[in-house]
């Protein structure tokens, strides 16, 4: 903006937009995006309080909780990976049909014909592995800080359920490429479930939709993977985050 006049007019336009009714209806009072935001303790509170972030964060947190070495951001990273996996997963759904042999052919096409298809597929796969890892590490962190102690007992239980759901999400996704790796890894995994005492064969039947893995299993696990389990885990995530706030925020210093 070498032309000073142009810069001024642009500034005036920006001011005009930032003072408009539309703009102010989007950004609530205290938002840093509003015209005239100043860095004051009051506005710092408003940034959270007048924002959807208030569902996740209080206005203030204990100082030790902000130290990176305390939480290592593991819970937040797990959640962020879940969001990334949702976004990349929706992208993959555009190019995938859970039938045999289309599933495998779609993956081949995805890797070669679709713009960014291979990149997004790789992100989805590595993101899933990283999420299992980060959820597990998050659990270990919480244990070593004794953060499951009253009043946070139940949130620990919710966390264990979330760990299980994360594993199930990853495991159901493992079958979807419909290649040799997917088929036989899932065979090994689901054979273990069939050893359940008393009603093992029933468990196995429900799990893979038959007496052995077939293309029907693919459809079943696809629905579990893209619909049922994300739905369930979202509910548990909501409870988990809500309980973090209600149980007094992050656990105390050691």
């Amino acid at each position: 903006m070498a032309n000073g006049n142009g810069g001024r007019r642009l500034g005036a336009l920006v001011d005009h937009v930032r003072e408009s009714q539309v703009w102010n209806s989007i950004f609530r009072p205290g938002s840093p995006f509003r015209a005239g935001y100043s860095d004051s303790p009051r506005n710092r509170s408003y940034v959270i309080m007048n924002n959807v972030l208030y569902h996740l964060h209080p206005v203030k947190v204990k100082r030790h909780g902000v130290r990176l070495s305390y939480t290592l951001c593991l819970g937040g990273i797990s959640f962020f990976l879940f969001i990334v996996l949702t976004i990349t997963g929706i992208f993959l759904m555009f190019y995938y049909r859970p039938t045999s042999p289309q599933a495998y052919l779609d993956l081949q096409a995805l890797s070669t014909d679709v713009a960014f298809g291979n990149l997004v597929r790789n992100m989805h796969r590595w993101g899933a592995h990283l999420m299992v890892l980060s959820v597990f590490l998050h659990m270990a962190r919480v244990f070593y800080h004794g953060a499951y102690k009253p009043p946070r007992e139940f949130n620990w239980v919710v966390g264990v359920v979330l760990l299980l759901l994360t594993l199930l999400l990853s495991f159901t996704g493992y079958l979807l490429p419909w290649d040799q790796l997917a088929l036989w890894a899932v065979t090994v995994g689901s054979t273990m479930a069939s050893y359940t005492p008393v009603f093992g064969s029933q468990v196995s039947f429900v799990l893979i939709g038959g007496v052995q893995i077939t293309p029907d299993t693919l459809l079943r696990w696809y629905v579990l993977h893209v619909l049922f389990l994300p739905f369930v885990i979202t509910i548990f995530l909501a409870v988990h985050f809500w309980r973090v706030r209600k149980d007094g925020g992050i656990s105390g210093p050691l």
């Binding site: 947190v61 990176l68 790789n122 592995h129 990283l130 953060a147 090994v188 005492p197």
Partner: protein
């Protein structure tokens, strides 16, 4: 005064009229400033005109020595000469000697009030304590914005960067089309189940595949109800940490063992001698 609603003013006037025994209209007019204030009826509402502490003590029921002490302390705090003589004789002196904040001399006709004696009446006592008894402990706190959100944003960027870098440089495996008639050797579960698959080599499938993971998960969920130790300090919970670390380490060792040290037939192998039998990471490890 101007913005007090009429009905509130009236209610107040009625209460005051009832207390003083005067007509409501008169009190109302006085409160609105339309009529001169009537002389207080009786002694009840008047400020204690009694000059000396004896009558004040008699009226309020506060022991005289306490009134004196309070007077002296107040005088000392305000930096005035401490009255030593009995206040009864000092009434005129205090009346003419202005308080530092009062500015000019008071008129001699003003009611003589002993120094250090409050003339306000106690109307009510509001007990301390909120509806919710929340015991707030002093905590060193910081604002989420900008301190925490900035960190979270950086963490988000780092994770995004790492994930994209991995996605660019490590190709996710896609083997041949699924073939029910040809089982690869070895067949391995996803890596997070390889610890369990490793256990299958030692125990009955019912034990390794169902009992151990099932009980393990249940035990995990029940930790908070079993561990009754209220302390979070590591030095106070050595046993809990020892047990948890044992299981964490064991599952990590089993998983790594199952991932890298199990080859064809799920027999023992050295990854550096026989190669990697772990398809997910084959792309970068070989």
């Amino acid at each position: 005064m101007a913005d007090i609603p009429e009905h509130l003013l009236r209610r107040s006037a009625e209460a005051k009229a009832k207390a003083t025994g005067r007509p409501v209209e008169e009190v109302l007019a006085e409160m609105k400033g339309e009529a001169p204030p009537a002389p207080a009826a009786g002694g009840g509402d008047a400020p204690p005109a009694a000059a000396d502490l004896d009558t004040l003590a008699a009226e309020t029921g506060i022991p005289k020595h306490l009134l004196e002490r309070s007077m002296r302390a107040r005088a000392k705090a305000e930096g005035r000469p401490v009255p030593t003589a009995a206040p009864a004789t000092a009434t005129t002196a205090t009346a003419t000697a202005p308080r530092p904040a009062a500015g000019g001399a008071q008129p001699a006709a003003a009611p003589a009030i002993p120094e250090g004696v409050r003339t306000q009446r106690l109307l009510t006592v509001v007990k301390a304590g909120a509806i919710q008894q929340v015991k707030r402990e002093p905590h060193d706190k910081v604002n989420v914005w900008p301190h925490l959100l900035a960190i979270e944003f950086v963490a988000l960027l780092v994770v995004t960067f790492v994930l994209i870098a991995m996605a660019i440089y490590i190709q996710a495996p896609l083997l041949e089309f699924a073939n029910f008639n040809e089982q690869p050797n070895p067949s391995k579960a996803p890596w997070y189940f390889l610890g369990l698959q490793e256990l299958l080599a030692y125990f009955d499938p019912q034990v390794a595949g169902v009992l151990i993971p099932g009980l393990g998960l249940a035990a995990l969920a029940f930790i908070p109800y079993v561990d009754k130790n209220p302390s979070v300090r590591p030095s106070d919970r050595k046993l809990a940490i020892l047990i948890f670390t044992f299981f964490i380490t064991a599952s990590a060792v089993l998983t790594i063992y199952g991932s890298f040290f199990r080859g064809p037939g799920f027999n023992f192998t050295f990854p550096w001698r026989d190669g990697i039998f772990f398809d997910d990471l084959k792309a970068i490890l070989e």
